[in-house]
């Protein structure tokens, strides 16, 4: 089933500037799992938020707000859309939360936010996730794209809309910091 779907998909070279809706849907379905895991990484492993971000990204793509112009592979472009949507959503959430705290919550009132819904990981994966969450957003994103989604650093730079040099720096520093965090976790 998956093989026949892949055969039906147009290759990047064949893709013209205007993709039909059915072609876009087919490509979205093919990359759905990858997209979801990338959305999960973009929102610090918040399961509910990842679903919302993915849905908003699909809406953007399907209603034509985000258009694929074949300047990169479809997956790279799709990841870029998801990342931009995640950044906007997270920013809105932070502003809204700050505003609500300023207006409606007294300073001496204890604030106990509910922890975000998360997946149940195995012990090793949880260790990795905790270490990743301690890295900066960009370092975490570059490592996720390279090791998790098997992208090159060039592709990661395209997704994140940063220069290749910056991506390389984030990659090197991220790897170093992650090694330290994992070592700390092992010592604990």
């Amino acid at each position: 089933m998956a093989e026949t779907q892949v055969e039906l998909l147009p290759s990047v070279d064949q893709i013209s500037r205007t993709l039909s809706r059915s072609e876009i849907e087919l490509l979205l379905e093919q990359y759905h799992q990858d997209s979801f895991t990338w959305a999960l990484a973009c929102c610090r492993r918040n399961f509910d938020l990842a679903q919302d971000i993915l849905q908003m990204s699909y809406v953007k793509i399907l209603d034509g707000s985000a258009q694929f112009e074949a300047r990169s592979s479809f997956r790279t472009w799709l990841f870029g859309v998801i990342r931009r949507t995640a950044v906007q959503t997270m920013r809105n959430l932070v502003v809204r939360e700050k505003l609500l705290r300023t207006l409606f919550i007294r300073r001496n009132e204890p604030v106990n936010p509910e922890p975000p819904a998360s997946l149940e990981y195995s012990l090793k994966s949880e260790k990795l996730v905790r270490a990743l969450l301690k890295l900066s957003t960009k370092q975490c994103a570059v490592l996720q794209l390279v090791f998790y989604h098997d992208m090159t650093i060039e592709e990661a730079a395209l997704v994140m809309k940063i220069s290749l040099g910056s991506a390389r720096t984030h990659y090197a520093r991220g790897k170093k910091n992650l090694a330290e965090r994992l070592k700390d976790r092992n010592n604990e």
Binding site: H32, F36, F47, Y58, L62, S122, K124, F147, Y148, K175
Partner: protein
């Protein structure tokens, strides 16, 4: 060491990927929700169009209507000098005058006018001695 760490990292990420992929919601669920939220934009378009059309219609009705909307200062100047005649204005009965026809108002009307008392204080005049300091 670096290569070893990279290999370990790759296997850890691969495990994480498998776990997260298993938890991913199906494409149908999310795309159905996405297509369900698509008409939202479609609803706003006719609504905004209707708003613009109604504003244009109201403006047209106001401009084309036979009732002339004159400015208050034009209106005052067109009435002539008689309009501001104080005597005429005083003679005219206001439609709210009946509100004043109360017992208290009548009593107040009947009471004699109290005149302001005249106070004639005689201020004593003192004679101040002449200043002769300049002569010293």
């Amino acid at each position: 060491m670096n290569k070893l760490f990279e290999d370990k990292l790759a296997s850890d990420f691969s495990r994480l990927r498998d776990e997260e992929r298993q938890a991913a919601p199906s494409y149908r669920n999310i795309s159905r929700a996405s297509s369900g939220s698509l008409p939202r934009r479609g609803v706003w378009r006719p609504a905004s169009l209707a708003l613009v059309v109604s504003v244009i219609l109201i403006t047209a009705i106001i401009l084309m209507s036979p009732i002339s909307f004159e400015r208050t200062d034009d209106f005052a100047s067109n009435q002539g000098d008689d309009f501001l005649d104080l005597e005429t204005m005083l003679v005219k009965e206001m439609p709210t005058d009946f509100l004043l026809e109360t017992l208290w108002y009548q009593l107040a009307d009947m009471s004699p006018e109290i005149s302001t008392p005249e106070f004639n204080y005689d201020v004593p005049l003192y004679e101040y001695p002449e200043d002769q300091s300049h002569e010293l």
